[in-house]
Subunit: 343 residues, 2 copies
Amino acid sequence: MTAAKGSRLQSRSFVSAQQVAERAGVSRSAVSRTFTDGASVSEATRKKVLEAAEALGYHVNHLARGLISDRSNIVSLVVTDIATPYQSKMIEVLTRRLQLANKVAMVINTSGETDSVESALRQTLHYRADATIVLSGQPKASLIETCLNNGQHVILVNREELVPGPETVIVANRAAAREAFHMLRRAGCERLAVVASDVGSASVSGRERAFVEAAKEAGMEVRVTRFGPTAYASGAEIARLLLSRSDRPDGVFCVTDLLACGFMDAARNEFGLNIPEELCVVGFDDIEQAGWSSYELTTFRQPIDQIATHIVSQIDHQPDSRIVHEPVRFQADPVWRKSVRPK
Amino acid sequence: MTAAKGSRLQSRSFVSAQQVAERAGVSRSAVSRTFTDGASVSEATRKKVLEAAEALGYHVNHLARGLISDRSNIVSLVVTDIATPYQSKMIEVLTRRLQLANKVAMVINTSGETDSVESALRQTLHYRADATIVLSGQPKASLIETCLNNGQHVILVNREELVPGPETVIVANRAAAREAFHMLRRAGCERLAVVASDVGSASVSGRERAFVEAAKEAGMEVRVTRFGPTAYASGAEIARLLLSRSDRPDGVFCVTDLLACGFMDAARNEFGLNIPEELCVVGFDDIEQAGWSSYELTTFRQPIDQIATHIVSQIDHQPDSRIVHEPVRFQADPVWRKSVRPK
DNA sequence: GACGCGTTTGCACACCTGTGCAAAACAAAC
DNA sequence: GTTTGTTTTGCACAGGTGTGCAAACGCGTC
């Protein structure tokens, strides 16, 4: 530790295995083997090497290791709207799980303009990532195709392409959205509405469709409103649209908790409505804010921990890129709070 | 594009510059130079190379490039509580800015146990990151010391160590906290309190101290309460402690918006208090939720964009590791909303 | 001491790139 | 056609690592 102090002067001078070998009086191979699991080194040399490494401040160069071993231990996370409660939670859990699996996360932000997205996504190829996890609905299918063509292991989350190659993980949007309908019905709601964004990602439109379908089966009409990005402000804006009408809805399914928060705030603070007495609201995702006492939102919990665990366990499996993988489904269970009347 | 389809079968077979060279009928150097800015290649060969590269699906291997050029173009983001609104926003902005500068972000989650933190932080050395940006208050100074010893370029955000080497970026907590005091005073508040966590990071305790100091100068007492992590639930819990007393405060400075949201919710929903009529609240950070109509929180805005821009501009500068860098300060301006009575 | 066997070690090659250097190609001027 | 100057090209090396292979070693047995 103290011996390394001197290297502070000429910075960016990393220690190589060669230097460790010289100090320890062994060959460079011995050093390499000491830091490779399952390699054959005697206890004596191992000890000498570790001492020298500690003294010099040696750290295996993973760039070089990845170059030769075809495993960079880097996993790309491709994600839009990073600052969103849902996505940031996902990143939180995934990074932690990846670290436990001795991997490291590279975050690719795809929020910007399309061409910058493309160049960003290319990083996953540049750095020979072990896998690419697509959390974003945004990137065009063609870009994912590019990754696949280069032998990338792609894992899609909440997308619904049916192309050969990528594995897919989705939550059971359909079942949950249908249940949302019945929750509102049992609460006695007569005039139903769906609040959605016009982003058109698979999860958003999937939930919307399933809810409408369930209503139709029960012989009910549903007003669907799509507006803006999937955000708080859009939910508030839709509330203004919907609640100023004389036949305003008394039961609302927001395809996202963020939309629900905006909707509830506008309903209460701008229209003076009581929730759940005059208006029932169901959300989706169970973000942290859904549990805040200003909302107490009844919603569906995405099992983020399970999803992350599954994803990380899949990374090292070599997928067959010729077949279409059946999506792995996770159930989203309802979380009862206070935005829906108990039946 | 179509030619690459065949490579889908034997996966993880990346194309090398050698293969491109052979297909284009040039030397490998020509390929390398084509993808290196400012290298000398004739227009004719450049075109041949680009065609061959496109056909084969070639992508420069940044692991190998980083190995030789001593620039990995990887920047580590060391961060705790990733899912927090403030931190996730920071990550959002930083990743975007980094990508514009042709760098890529590696996210190191330091929320877990201490030893896992250590191994995670070591990744920044393993991958020879160009710089390490420490957004977290958590990691022990000794770990940062390790990075510095290995010639890492370390940039600290909102920490207040005074060690030689790392550059530091901080917001002017002191000035803002003092202004918070005067805002509450001008609103006529008589019984002041500070709501803080017991995490003890530099920003949290710095704001707390400056507020108390300003009060003392004005001859006023302040009740300081520290509890739990810096989170919504802690704010609510502190509200229960503080507001159940007969001499409850009528003016509160929460060192974080998240604490403020929890405090406000408990004050209103559990104690029936009106804000700002009976209780004024000032926060810090200006997270998204501060602008939601359930809160309308008067707070101080951290200039995240400016901070991120500055940080990214510093990355390529080679810092002098022997001197103590004067911290770069950013001003946090007040954002007036409705949680403080207008004077 | 000779032999046999299992473990450890060093050599040398491979991985994929950037770049200095000298040779080659080219363009221009006479 | 020769000379001069400029641009382009290929060779060969460097960068730090993992690993197959054969040699060396250690050790127990006859």
